[in-house]
Symmetry: C3
Subunit: 293 residues, 3 copies
């Protein structure tokens, strides 16, 4: 799949994924949805990718859904007869539902949730609507001091999307999530930092280099399967009803590692040398994925 | 239903709900439980109500359960033969359980959880026991600098109620929730602010006006169904096991909006004018409620 | 069961549980796993124990898994043929799985989760690997200014354990949990405090006395069953899908208390005297435990 709305560039293990419609302020379209979902899945399979940095071309990160397109701006099929929760449960992958009903931002968010590589946002400017909600399934959000955010859905009479009713309160708390969604206004980088939406602020001129260095530091010298499992275990297990659900997966993960990178890690530790890990995220252990929803 | 323990006053979309037993420091009774549960349901149905501000008459918010009443102070039927979890699951709405076993604070908390309008607390003074736990299902807690709080159940040999074992750790974290419940003491507004129990502190003389202005700012110019869905989506979806549960609801919400307030919102945005939203929370879309527990 | 790796000392209701392999920096072994799991269960049954303080002998808390032991350092059976999630679900208590597959840290964490007494950590020095993750199911972590922490599993090619993929993000947030696990480095007490991993820092020479005084303050004058239920209700109910799950348990807890310590508490309150609570955690009400996973 060749991307028209995205840049895809790998440099020494770091994938730079760039929202690339600068003439349209990188506004989100159905095509960008499909390309982003494809790109995150492709990054999972591609062993050359160790971590992902996401940014926007030009001075904006993403100005939200492109409301200037012809037809249904949400990419939905208005002729669907009164869809129900059962349609979203039992018929999720039928073309009529997949194309006509499913929220496009949500498809991207679920692809990010499933991703096997750490995702670092480099929020280089305005990020509103889907531009803000697509940041939430990332592992980390680094932002330029000139970044702006906004869960502005209420301004146009719609509601939050991209699974943000799940992600946002888990990151900033239920009260702050309610406040930003009711307010539906644009807020600055300082507020985003103070309320823990972003990890750190950076000068515009160093943001990208800082984000790449940060991402590289997370994965350098690490087991690729270990990184992938760490991400998936935290994303999935923390929302479990009971800690025994985590215990089940963790036991399998440690058992699997001791036949591979874990043995090498212990040997290297005893021999006081750097380990030589060889696992590949393209060959995950058989217990993964453990809850294919 | 005429209220004897509550004030109900609507002014330009703002419902002022007042705990109104000032001679008893607004202490909570079985009657107040019934009236509060009724009031939150009524506010959901009444399109004249856009947001709710809750406060106490006089200098106190709520001094807790009224321990001076005759009979069982908890409003329970002591003669019930050894009730079980099955009683609370399978027989929840049978009169014997409904009246004799169900925690009164929990009935109020569940009515607040289900409410379709934002709820802003204006904590004007002492709020202990149920006075503190009834604050937790609110969207926001604004407090007077003279407010006092306390999860004091341990002082009288009982345990936390009003679904606070679910709400409190979600607001302030598990460790702080454990500490306050073990300590069971009264703490001041500064501690409540420092630990994120309240959103902001206000001088006693401006608290009520500040709370009304804040509540009004959340809903002014917004879609009534959009506000109701935003509240319900965040309250319910953030506790889901997997983000796809949020995706299902969000997809239905966006689909539904694009046939109503969403279309008007996009038109108004393109025409650079204020939108004219017409939806009513008394006519919620058919997919709501999506988990009637 | 006599402990060889632990100290067990009760003084006026306070159990001091000491990791006691100082010549090995209190490194964790399969034997220590078994003894810790036994000790937490024993503390639940022993009415002489009101609260638990956990610390390490000497200058270290716990240096992690003992990688110097012979055989499989993780205590696993490498000959198990490709274990699956079904093994961890359906065969959890079969000896082959119990001994050969289950993560040892997770067995300790689940015993702590089930414990009926508050657990206060007195982290007196280095706490890495399982030394850090065994802190997470505690109610509170107090630390010496000289303490050091580290979720270092990635250094040796394995992944987080001891149910920490459930506990850690609930304590410090998903983003911070991801960062520490990817970094896999050692960090100091100041960072642990700033990120809410620990409750407070203490001079090394007063840490233990401070922790005992803090623990004593949590339980002095309290109902033993009330404390046990408070801990279990917060640990279990906060992770529920819907607040009605908390309502069910809370209703049973208040109903049960009003026939025991709750009646005494209300009488004492009316008579303006200190209550005389008589319940024992060795005789929990019949609705406990309510989700035996």
């Amino acid at each position: 799949m060749a991307y028209e709305t995205l840049g895809w560039d790998i440099d020494d293990g770091m994938l730079m994924l760039t929202l690339n419609r600068p003439a349209k302020m990188n506004a989100f379209t159905v095509q960008m949805c499909d390309e982003l979902a494809d790109a995150y899945a492709r990054a999972s399979r591609d062993d050359a990718v160790k971590a992902i940095v996401v940014t926007g071309a030009g001075k904006v990160f993403c100005a939200g859904m492109d409301l200037s397109v012809d037809g249904n701006v949400f990419g939905l099929d208005e002729t669907l007869p009164s869809p129900t929760l059962a349609d979203m449960t039992e018929r999720l992958h039928e073309p009529e539902i997949e194309r006509g009903l499913r929220d496009t931002g949500g498809k991207v968010a679920l692809a990010m949730y499933d991703c096997l590589k750490p995702i670092v946002g480099a929020v280089n400017g305005v990020a509103v609507g889907i531009g803000s909600t697509m940041l939430l399934p990332m592992d980390f959000r680094l932002a330029s001091t000139s970044a702006r955010f906004g869960f502005v859905f209420g301004r146009i009479g719609i509601t939050m999307e991209a699974c943000s009713s799940w992600f946002l309160p888990r990151i900033v708390g239920l009260e702050q999530a309610l406040e930003w969604c009711y307010r539906a206004d644009i807020f600055d980088a300082e507020e985003a930092l103070a309320k823990n939406l972003v990890r750190s602020l950076h000068p515009p001129e160093t943001l990208l280099a800082d984000a790449v260095a940060f991402a590289r530091g997370l994965v350098a010298g690490r087991s690729a399967v270990g990184i992938a499992l760490t991400r998936q275990m935290l994303m999935r297990n923390h929302a479990a009803r009971h800690p025994i659900e985590a215990h089940r997966i963790e036991s399998l993960a440690v058992f699997h590692a001791q036949g591979g990178d874990g043995s090498e890690g212990v040997r290297a530790f005893r021999e006081k040398r750097a380990p030589d890990f060889t696992s590949r995220a393209s060959a995950m252990p058989p217990f993964y994925p453990w809850d294919a929803a």
